[in-house]
Subunit: 206 residues, 2 copies
DNA sequence: GATAACTTGTGAAGAAATTCACAAGTTCAA
DNA sequence: TTGAACTTGTGAATTTCTTCACAAGTTATC
């Protein structure tokens, strides 16, 4: 398949969210124009994005909400459940562990790790915090799909190396540190400081 | 000034982080090549990004770490302090309020709001949670620069409208909801669900 | 069944972002 | 002073992404 741009995948995610909204409200069909209006894009963009994966609409009518959202879930790989581990049981890590929005969308948090002996053994939202050192062993027995890194910046690279070595091929990084990983590993970064700086730039140069 | 791409601003943020690292380690100069290697980009990209704002380097030598980081801070608007309010004192909101990394970079959290009477009056990290209804009045007296939205998706648009009406011109949105705001208002979204779906896509189609 | 009003899917055009490639400037050593 | 080794800054080329524009298909109405 032709390489799909990151921006396209992000938009598919947005479309899916709207479609699920429409589904709940019992709306059966939707046009690219309506879909675009909500997502701050254009109808041509919507159609182009979808066209990479096939043609799902009916001319003159639009898209079946149920069908398109099912196809998007399939495209995004959301038909299965993903096993997620959280590394770092600090403020952010604990908040993530307790946030149930993930599980609702098929991302099941199966373990929380921390390297601080004072935290190991405590529970977060029903999950006992495990020692980080046990990750390699445990990952061998039951390989997680995605590792969420909620550790301090200085530790991030080291932990990422460990995660990669354990065979995990996707990382969601909350640490404000640019990770170096082999390109067989997918990384997404959530960098709040960077977003704030983007706002600062906009306010300054707007 | 020519419009600066979002991607450029994000990279400036990344460069600044490295430069601060180098500054701490007492390194005086750095080449675009070294800067690029850390940020997963190319030296040409670094030079092009910087060229939008002037020419800060010395041929044959590179960039002065101290000078370039000062210029980047200036460009990004980080020379002043920004007043930030957090709306929503749930798990995420509370974690953000307690995260001191923001303050270190000049984003000072001045207030936390929530609409839940059960939460109002409690403290988070030394800040008393205020009733959301009092925001318009308080914003008049002391206008915040940035509002961080950590509210449920269903409430996000309503809260955003309120924030915009209160004269705030920058929003960092943690709610998984696409906000509609006038284009005089800058919005950045941190959407963990979307990032996870991006990873899911990568794992599925990688 | 004819017409009007929609809407999709997609090549082609256009715009935007990235990379190339090189003149020009700097440093260092002999 | 010369030459070798670097490195920047930037037009031009290239690649990538977005928008345009329209043929072709669908539905509704009379």
């Amino acid at each position: 398949m032709k390489r799909i741009a990151d921006s396209t995948v992000r938009r598919l995610s947005i479309y899916l969210r709207f479609l699920e909204d429409f589904e709940k409200r019992g709306i059966a069909t939707i046009s690219s124009d309506e879909l675009a209006a909500r997502g701050g894009t254009t109808s041509a963009q919507v159609r182009k994005d979808l066209s990479f994966f096939g043609s799902f609409g009916k001319r003159g009518l639009g898209y079946s909400v149920a069908e398109l959202s099912a196809r998007l879930r399939q495209i995004l790989g959301l038909e299965r459940e993903w096993q997620v581990i959280i590394i770092g049981a600090g403020k952010i890590g604990a908040a993530l562990a307790q946030y149930h929005g993930f599980a609702q969308r098929g991302f099941r948090i199966v373990a929380v790790y921390d390297s601080d002996p004072a935290k190991v053994g405590r529970s977060v939202d029903g999950l006992v915090i495990r020692p980080l050192a046990s990750l390699p062993e445990e990952a061998k027995r039951q390989p997680p799909d995605i590792a969420v890194l909620a550790v301090p910046a200085v530790a991030a690279q080291e932990v990422a190396d460990m995660v990669v070595k354990a065979g995990i091929r996707a990382i969601l990084n909350f640490a404000p540190h640019q990770l170096q990983v082999p390109d067989t590993v997918a990384v997404k970064a959530v960098n709040m400081a960077m977003e704030l700086e983007g706002l600062s730039f906009a306010l300054t140069n707007g």
